[in-house]
Amino acid sequence: MKKAEKILVAMSGGVDSSVAAAVLIKEGFDVTGVTMKLWGGSSDTGCCSVSDVIDARRVADQLEIPHHVFNFGDEFDTHVVEPYVEAHAIGETPNPCIECNRHIKFDKLFRRAHALGFDLLATGHHAQIAQETNGLRIKRAEDHAKDQSYVLHMLNQDQLQKLRFPIGTMTKKHVREIANSLSLQTADKADSQDVCFISRTKGGRQLFLQERLEMTSGQVIDTTGTQIAEIDAVEMVTIGQRKGLGVSGETNPHYAIDVNVQQATVTAGSKEDLFCQQTPIANLHWVGEADHGTLHVQTSAHGKTYPARIDQRVIWEEPHMKVAPGQSIVFYKNNTVVGSAIAKKH
């Protein structure tokens, strides 16, 4: 009999990664669970709290697999938390989950797994890895509503070869059914939603950033440059934001259409001003060949896709809401990730 492949499963303490581990055991892998301790501060239900480690450990006990905890707190601070704060300091809207995937799960943990003699690494992400004629590709999950391919767009061929997403072919309903059938104690656990290192119950994003950044007070100006309000923290404003600008306008609502921390201004405009034909980009990356035809373009983790062409910038077929600088933009063709970029300031 062929020796079972050794696979390390990242178990966050949620139902998806619990079932991922269970599925791999059934498929005959030699499975070990690991939970990463990433954040020592307060959190709500994110992946870093001790209670989630306990959940992961108890599921591993139920599945009778070894479970370890790796402390990647320093790396998480360096690659996720600090850049998150720095991005806000220059008025950008970062996506920390993508940076965590890029630097922690699929780099630090990936290398650790290799060093410890594992053949493969698995996570409970809702996404699929498809073999296409020109290599492996990230594809949307079976359950489009839960799809996480957007936050996995950066994975390269070497990583994809050694990765498994066992629940990518399942609906969330099916995942919970499996968890229930195995009486896994995470079967009914709610999905995590927010940034794991920010506690909603302890002041949320605003307090988190206030403790780490000196906020810039500034002016809210209209598109002609005239001041229409004052604001305490320019860094806290995101493109498209309507509330908290200090501008009354029930009949003629104002939206943040530009944030300029250096000049301490937030430009407010009408809904029309919020839309654009083109979005400037940086870090353009194609998984295979560049594709200048019409693609489906997604600009946020659970956002919809819109048709656009890519030619040194995103050229939308229909006017599109401005994308906050710092956001990842992912291009799909037939539900498969073909490229990505980062939104730049207009």
Binding site: V50, H68, N71, R111, R112, A115, L116
Partner: protein
């Protein structure tokens, strides 16, 4: 299984198990009661108190049973502070059970030298007439470094005549003659599971000068300092382990010291390795006289402890790095940080703690596996 994590918990002694089973089966009365079963239980914990008093070099009435080392430390610090007020000082390398209470009451933290010994000049700067308590661990749990309590006590007497000295002797009990080593301390904490007793039981010795406000109120057990029905089986098990440890301590030290030296000598022959708390004799030999016999603590550059410990466990070798947090992850060591080790090197620490059961074969196997694992990890760069 090769168990090199005795500093975390020692294997339970046979004498402990037998003593405890006998109590659990036959001696279930409440020691605070008045009938014959109660008196029997009372007798058991008082006999144990006599045994412990002898092994600790104190009077039986000075022994307060606690739920372990952490409670004993908390009681020493909060209890003294609540009774006397003033300022509490502890060293930067103390166990969290001392550090956190001290920080909570706004105490002061004394620095240590790069060799782990207390920085006496800094302590002298901190000491004054307001100081009511100084807490210095006898032996550090991570590095095995022994503090010179006698010198520290002399300094306290000179500069802070009102201050008491507390020592967390939890890691010292298996390896040092406690009556001698803690002679100058007014308060001494020990925990049974470090010397082959059960978990969840310990002692705070509160000598004549100590003044403690109770932290736990109720039935007035333990002279009103620590209310709550005593854990009779735990106490009896602890006394059995303490007696056996005292009786065999010298022989264990003589047997384990050469094993530890062989282990440490061979590990430090690996490139990029740094043994903590040692010095060089004039003949070039490593001097480990400031460390307990069971401690081999080495930092390796380009190594992450977690990865190393994982590989060792695959080969059935159980060890640890710094202290573990409640999640089971290895936390960065505050002890090595205080000694001036950079975070990267501290992140490659390996604590191999030998015990009364460690054999020559264990050390041979460890020496086959550890250098190989280090080479492997350095090659793969994780």
């Amino acid at each position: 299984m090769i168990y090199l994590d005795n500093a975390a918990s020692a294997p339970t002694r046979q004498e402990t198990i037998e003593a405890m089973v006998s109590v659990l089966e036959e001696n279930y009365g409440n020691p605070s009661g008045s009938h014959s079963m109660a008196r029997k239980a009372r007798r058991a914990i008082d006999d144990a108190r006599d045994i412990l008093a002898e092994t600790l070099g104190c009077r039986a009435q000075e022994i307060i049973y606690t739920s372990g080392g952490t409670e004993a430390d908390n009681l020493a610090i909060f209890g003294t502070h609540n009774a006397l007020g003033g300022t509490v000082i502890c060293s930067a390398t103390e166990h969290h059970a001392v550090l956190e209470p001290t920080e909570t009451i706004g105490g002061q933290i004394a620095k240590v030298n790069p060799d782990g010994s207390l920085d006496l000049n800094h302590l002298a700067d901190l000491l004054n007439e307001q100081t009511t308590l100084v807490s210095i661990g006898l032996v550090n749990g991570e590095t095995g470094i022994i503090q010179d309590l006698e010198t520290i006590s002399d300094l306290i007497k000179e500069l802070a005549p009102n201050a008491l000295l507390h020592t967390d002797a939890v890691q010292g009990f298996p390896w040092l003659d406690i009556p001698t080593a803690t002679k100058t301390a007014d308060l001494v904490s020990i925990a049974a599971h470090k010397f082959g007793g059960p978990k969840g039981i310990g002692v705070l010795v509160a000598k004549e000068k100590a003044k403690l406000a109770p932290m736990q109120l109720g039935g007035g057990q333990e002279q009103g300092i620590r209310s709550g029905t005593q854990d009779v089986a735990g106490i009896v098990g602890m006394a059995a382990a303490a007696q056996q440890t005292s009786n065999t301590r010298q022989a264990t030290i003589e047997r384990v010291t050469p094993l530890r030296n062989q282990l440490a000598n061979e590990l430090t022959s690996i490139k990029g390795s740094y043994e903590t708390g040692v010095s060089r004799n004039s003949n070039g030999e490593t001097n480990r006289s400031k460390k307990i016999a069971g401690s081999c603590h080495v930092c390796f550059d380009q190594i992450e402890s977690e990865a190393l410990l994982f590989l060792l466990e695959q080969e059935n070798i159980l060890a640890s790095a710094a202290s573990s947090c409640s999640s089971g992850a290895q936390d960065p060591s505050h002890v090595l940080a205080a000694m001036g080790y950079n975070r990267e090197l501290a992140g490659g620490s390996l604590r191999l703690s030998l015990g009364y059961k460690t054999s020559e074969t264990d050390i041979q196997k460890a020496l086959e596996v550890i250098p190989k694992s280090i080479t492997k990890l350095r090659k793969t760069g994780s």
